[in-house]
């Protein structure tokens, strides 16, 4: 194809020589980012995969009751006959072994998520099972607790013997598998997560809008005021960052509570009567106010950094071309800040969707978010599978939103500062 290739002075083809030179600089560049990549891998990417896995992981049943799980394979769970004597025999042996190995507690907790009462059943059966040494196995086990004669217990064990389970995800969307393994809604008085997801999303959306409405004029002032004044204003904007989150949140409580400063003031002024004090905290209003305040800087800063790059001559040009201040703003200034609006909004929305300390303190009964429940499943109930499933759904929500944003605005247009 090539008649004669260009070579360097020592006869190496020019192309190869160039690649070599480039490779070296590429390797050097790559080495510079290795620490960051390693950090991200261990601190961010691996935990996410760990979370994804935990949301479906279910090895515990097969681990603790290994023989029972195998023996149950031949049992027809759709019929209405209990497993046969052989299954009971292996089950007793498995329970005895698990009791000695102290793994029964974990199994008890796992199965209790699916069926309340399993925890006490298994814990009770652990020590007492040691007494069973010979047939009849089923009769003696059922004597320990009548529940062993309930066919649904055995259906549950068989259903959950797979290494992967969908039950965490089902629980995360208010569904469950019934005794026969069919997907069903949770009883209505236990349905909580779907409405929480929805509440988290719409409240975060409203918080984002509030931040935008309040932050836009501030960012505009920051970008247009003389340097000295705008520096002072910037300090005021950043001030919340220098105060602990808890302090800021509790200050809002002091301000907004019914016996708080704002209500006192309104009573003194005569706006409301002493009996008609307004409930502004420990409900949605509290969450809106405190969250908007806390997240406002995250809206202002990207907006400011974008506005700073818009020359004042744009507005002047628009005015001189005959546009009223309003038209000039809507048609010229606003479109040029879209990248800042997008960046600020997506930042505030994503932060808001994952916030839990503030809603926990000021949200009361109605103003709490899905993250509060994730936190509680992580640290209180230790139901990490459900926490992971809720987390995965939240992550998927954020990613979907991000893609939507990319489709509409274009991620390249995002300016974070």
């Amino acid at each position: 194809m090539m008649a004669h290739e260009l070579t360097t002075a020592d006869g190496v083809p020019l192309r190869i020589s160039l690649e070599r030179a480039l490779l070296r600089s590429r390797i050097r560049a790559a080495l510079l980012v290795v620490p960051l990549m390693a950090f991200l891998l261990f601190a961010f990417i691996l935990p996410i995969f760990d979370m994804l896995y935990r949301s479906v992981e279910n090895t515990i049943v097969a681990q603790v009751l290994p023989e029972t799980v195998i023996a149950l394979q031949d049992w027809d769970e759709t019929g209405d006959a209990l497993p046969d004597e052989a299954v009971f025999k292996t089950a007793v042996a498995d329970i005895q072994a698990a009791f000695k190995a102290k793994t029964l507690g974990r199994l008890a907790r796992r199965l209790n998520y699916e069926k309340p009462g399993m925890a006490s059943l298994l814990r009770k059966s652990g020590r007492r099972s040691l007494r069973i040494t010979e047939a009849p196995w089923s009769e003696q086990l059922i004597k320990i607790d009548r529940k062993w004669g309930d066919i649904n217990i055995w259906r549950l064990i068989k259903r959950e013997s797979d290494h992967l389970t969908e039950s965490y995800f089902l629980a995360a969307v208010d569904m469950r598998l019934d005794d026969l393994g069919a997907v069903n809604w949770q009883p209505e008085n236990r349905q909580i997560y779907l409405q929480l997801f929805w509440k988290t999303v719409w409240m975060s959306g409203l918080i984002t809008i509030l931040c935008l409405l309040l932050g836009y004029p501030v960012a505009f002032l920051l970008a247009t005021l003389p340097l000295r004044t705008s520096n002072l204003l910037m300090v005021l904007v950043l001030l919340p960052f220098w105060t602990s989150l808890l302090v800021r949140t509790t200050s809002w409580i002091a301000l907004l509570q019914t016996e708080g400063v704002l209500n006192d003031l309104m009573v003194v002024v005569g706006l409301i009567s002493d009996d008609g004090r307004l409930q502004m905290i420990h409900n949605k209003i509290g969450t809106f106010v405190a969250m908007t305040h806390i997240l406002l800087p995250f809206m202002i800063l990207p907006l400011y950094s974008v506005m700073k790059t818009i020359p004042p001559s744009y507005m002047r040009a628009a005015r001189s071309l005959g546009a009223t201040p309003f038209t000039a703003f809507v048609r010229v200034y606003l479109p040029n800040t879209v990248s800042g609006i997008g960046a600020g909004s997506i930042l505030v929305f994503i932060l808001s969707i994952g916030y839990y300390i503030t809603p926990a303190l000021v949200g009361g009964r109605t103003g709490t978010f899905i993250s509060n429940f994730i936190a509680s499943h992580v640290s209180e109930t230790l139901n990490w599978g459900l926490a992971a499933a809720l987390g995965v759904i939240l992550l998927a929500l954020v990613l979907a939103l991000y893609l939507l944003y990319d489709r509409i605005v274009g991620i390249d247009n995002m300016k974070l500062g």
Partner: protein, 371 residues
Amino acid sequence: MPDAQEALVAFEGVQKTYDGRQLVVRDLNLDIARGEFLTMLGPSGSGKTTCLMMLAGFETPTHGRILLNGTELNRVPPHRRGIGMVFQNYALFPHMTVQENLAFPLEVRGMSRAEIETKVARALDMVRLPEFGGRRPAQLSGGQQQRVAVARALVFEPDLVLMDEPLGALDKNLREEMQYEIKHIHESLGVTVVYVTHDQSEALTMSNRIAVFDDGVIQQLATPDVLYEKPENAFVAQFIGENNRLIARVTEMDGSFCTVELEDGQKVRALSVNVAGAGEITTLSLRPERVVIGPGQDFADNRISGRVEELIYLGDHIRARLTVAGNDSFIVKVANAHDHVRLSQGSEVPLGWASEDCRALDAGVGNAAPA
């Protein structure tokens, strides 16, 4: 070309201060005729841009009136003044295409779609960019953006167009090309242009009249040739074109002339333009091309000597720097003609000029009379 037409724009006793202590513009009185190309020229901080911004409506005068077509503008907001404006960095809207940029002033005036299309197309033709309507400003070169900015300021057919250092961001060649282009557009449309620049050659090239600003005051308002040849004060003489400055003391007034004594005691005659009287300090202004080296020429009735410090060969002429009467940056241009004088560095040479070409002006800043 300050012809007898009625003034389109009139500044009447306009003053402007930003901080309440210092006047940026002091007592500005200026009439701009319909169809005129008037340049406000001056160093930065001289008040010229402030004047332009007051005219556009982005600054309000602290005192005085500005009239457009006989109507007082002070309370008219910018968007109702109907004045086109070209900004320093073009201020093209980056999120709109060229077409949309041009259509913007027409849309806000509520014109019909068809009308807008015609006018936009015509404006693009005028600036020779008919192919570029669909592009974004960022996809154009600096010169093209400049032309779009001019087209946008003109597309709604204003009576008056303001240009605020519109060519400042362009390189030298492009700048010159654009100077001619703007001048031609001005001539063909007959629109009135108020142009702000700190580049005196730009001002000389394009303007009908130039207002030279310094320290918030118009130092001289005149046509380019008058401004160059007959500066009325030391600032204008120094600011416009190349100038030799000699400090001297007036010894005798003599009708329209005066006799002055240079720092080294030599005496010369000069045209008395702006001197207070005998005994006062004056600045003599003398264009380099009006000085001759060597004896001869009858018109050169002033003769003194100077020492050659430096010679720079520039092809068509030789630029000679001399020390004359204590001024060591006295420039003389020697035409590279058939029989020009051969100079050598360090030599004393005789110089001469006509008294009419040497203008005795005010003392200038920092040249107070010696005690």
